[in-house]
Symmetry: C2
Subunit: 271 residues, 2 copies
Amino acid sequence: MTFINKLRSRWQNADTLLCVGLDPDPAKFPDAFIDDEDALFNFCRDIVDATAEFACAFKPQIAYFAAHNGGEAQLQRLIAHINGAHPNIPVVLDSKRGDIGSTAEQYAVEAFDRFGADAVTLNPYMGFDSAAPFLQRGDRGCVFLCHTSNPGARDFQELLVDGAPLYQHVARTIANEWNSDGNCALVVGATFPEELKIIRGIVGNMPLLIPGVGAQGGDVEAVVSNGKTSDGTGLMINSSRGILYASSSAGYADAAADAARELRDAINRWR
Amino acid sequence: MTFINKLRSRWQNADTLLCVGLDPDPAKFPDAFIDDEDALFNFCRDIVDATAEFACAFKPQIAYFAAHNGGEAQLQRLIAHINGAHPNIPVVLDSKRGDIGSTAEQYAVEAFDRFGADAVTLNPYMGFDSAAPFLQRGDRGCVFLCHTSNPGARDFQELLVDGAPLYQHVARTIANEWNSDGNCALVVGATFPEELKIIRGIVGNMPLLIPGVGAQGGDVEAVVSNGKTSDGTGLMINSSRGILYASSSAGYADAAADAARELRDAINRWR
């Protein structure tokens, strides 16, 4: 099944738009993981199993694995665990890759073949040929940065090009020119709800990955109201820290499940 | 010693502006590396040792390691080998990272602490706070994408903002606002020599990393003439495939050395 179909099925069948972000920071782990050589995997697996019921997608952030020797092997095990234990939930590898075509081919192997992700986040700055090796894998998803959640989103993404901000050109180019296989999605930060509304207007029913609720301050009502499609879906609303570190006690997995359930319900209230 | 000082010393002392790119593709390796589990490391080490005399920098491309299980450990060994055997030659890790601040901190650990690179390539699309964790490591270099060498560079980098292309805004912002510690550099493709001239005019003596001569078709004379600083330096002119795969026979290392010497000399002819 393609990424897009897997995601749409999950939205419908599990009644959730919540994406659980997996950003494992050992400094924030419960004490049980001290001296655990596989702590990245073991902690994330516990979070995954506790929150799967409430998740439309999982989004491991590769940087948190790549900061450690052997981290990639744990990431690989984690995605294999998700694919095995929760086969209906798509995995978006958050790695924001982007490079010339021959190099992009290697990155596509990294994300889709080595790690087994259903989709990958990508940076559009280098243009179409840097995206092509990913786009050509029509069964996998390509989630391009459009308007990000951080303050620096204003530095270049909002520069005016022919009277419209750059991020709108990015959205329009991807929707009109790069999405011929229907496997594109965009990253739009929850912290800029007005921009989210404009992007939804540009891209039709294209899925949007929304980081920035929780620790970064994005408002759930504004995100859902401005970002949903007419059938009340279209969004992967991500929370990482608010779920992963809901508790640092021995009850961390239950606390993560509670936080995931609450956010799923808060999202559904506005659909 | 800082990256920038190490690079400037190397330019002066070795009389070379050649950057040797390390993009190891096992499909192109000589037969001796079939069934070699450490082929990525062993092949690149041979190339490094054969070409060091002619190199102002080495640029391993992480994607070619990340496409393989265990690739990161070989990359780590490779950079450790360069730092040990060729301590005067800076290493630019080509990974084009870019993410929100908390994630960028993890990527800075990846590049500088785990892999021990002197500098890293970065994507500016997400703005200042995505760059800050790298910029704050003042002894390390931050090499930002500006105008890249691939055809897709035209898609967004050349969009006009207030009458000037986006890449010029990127160059100006980095030169004027991000470079307070003097540790910034830019990626400018050899395939766009006119744009290179304009960028040199914007950024003063800032080092420029120039991919795209050789396989991508960039012209050495145009690059040196348009890109050099007044003292005849300022450039890391990269060649990867033209050196790595100069020969697929048993004499691959000698052939790589010959190709590196020839390109160094061709560059120096126009300084």
